[in-house]
Amino acid sequence: MGNERVKERLVNTDQSNGLQGRRKFVQASMFGLFRIAATINGVALLIIVYFLVARGWRAINWTFLTQPPMESMTKGGILPCIVGTVCLSLGAILVALPIGVASAIYLNEYAKPGRLLRIIRLGINNLAGVPSIIFGLFGLAFFVVWLQFGVSILSGALTLGVMTLPVIIGASEEALRAVPDTYREASLGLGATKWQTINRVVLPAALPGILTGAILGISRAAGETAPIMFTAAVFYTPSLPSSVFDEIMALPYHIYVLATAGTEIEATRHLQYGTALVLIVLVLGLNLIAIIYRARLRRRMQ
């Protein structure tokens, strides 16, 4: 009798083990799938970086970084491109940072929820979604032709600036949101006006976050090609820029030109890899700085 009972229980556990086992198996395989997906992303990043480093590092030396291109761009360096990219991305951030931070201040500190705020947000979201080539067309029609800035650093920086605007607004808003309301209440309670509170209390507290956003904005602007194709960058220019109305060379455009339109595409392959490596080191470097800086900030906040 007792024996049978034990048997029954064994059968029962067996059955429930089977079901339980299947559920556990499904879970394990799904989690395995998650892990595979995440790994694929990492592998993709590694493969791209690996090929650029493995094939590009030999091209990089002091001459490459400090000399202009020579012999119809089959030899020499990329100094004008580096200078051009630095000018364009700094110019872009000069345009985008003040407007972006001010927009974020309005959205986070002043605006009350309602239809107007919805419309402004919709505008920002849609601006963020505009394809980069459309910014290029807009820059050509508006800055280059209509405002008569010509193909110049100014046109390119303005085009890149409006393109980076949503990035800056997003990052600044997040930084402002992270400032605890108690800061504002304390300042207002001491009799400060709203602007004094924002200027002396909220902005300083949000500054590190805003700077992180600015770094990301610079890196985004530095890597873009399509917006500067018709507005700032040229195939080749012998001299470094002397004013904002000069046309310039830029790293991303240089890669594109050498890889597709050069007369000796195969012969300049090492220069292409070298240029791509310089660009990616610049962009990923800026991003790493931002990521590490932000992680530190978070830890300090906690």
Binding site: A37, I119, L127, L137, T225, T260, A276
Partner: protein
Amino acid sequence: MGKEGGKTVSIRQRREKEIRVAFFGVALASIATLGLIVLFLFMEGIPIFKEVSVHDFLFGKYWYPTDDPPDFGIFPLIAASISVTAVASIISIPLGVLTALYLAEAASYRVREWVKPVVELLAAIPSVVIGFFGMVVFAPFLQEILDIPTGLNLFNASLMLAFMSIPTICSISEDAIFSVPIELKEASLALGATHWETIWRVIIPASISGISTAIILGMSRAIGETMVVLMVAGGATLIPASLFDPVRPMPASIAAEMAEAPFRGDHYHALFATGIILFLFTLLFNLVADYVSNKYRQVGAATL
């Protein structure tokens, strides 16, 4: 004394009001820019419709803008854009959403601290570098293993585009999954559901609007991306018949031809008009994304 005090207060108040108005003015900059973009696209694009009807422009099967007489039919370009976006989505949606689920649900804190930056760095790689990689590394590889005439084709471009939209899909989905109220999860686990059952039956349904928004924005990014399709898609203005046909999506056509198009000639106007169509596509994607995320906003446990 009291009167003077009142005066300074009112000056202060007026100043405050002015500052508020100034900030409001700056906040309109984004909308103003968007308006200017639309205005100038249409101003430079509309003149082509004096030469070609809207119907012939959209559905014309031949794009030979430099022939005499020229053909301005962008149907092959639209078909190419839609097909690269579709193929890219087939790759990027599962990878992006699964990675988001991994980050939000399965990964330990330490792993997450490593994987998240990887996704962010993937997002940060300039499009021209991905295009370059697709052109000089992946295309020869593809050509060799599949024994096809060219590695620069629809599939190659789609794969490169997929890895550009994965970060968008992943990070927005992750935010949505992360913001599902913990009570829902705890309730499901307390009823004896496994973690996976909880994810499948509770967490995904609760965050589906955010995940959908992420997917739409990812697709919008793919259809508008220029450098990758310019360098990798192959450039033939054909309506694609196979996964390995060379194609010429709209952004590629604009970027490749604008430099040669005579200023304010028909070709120039036709490229701007192509820009209008591309802009309308992304606008539609963004408006749908906005509608979905507002209409089905996640409000606490009320989503279920």
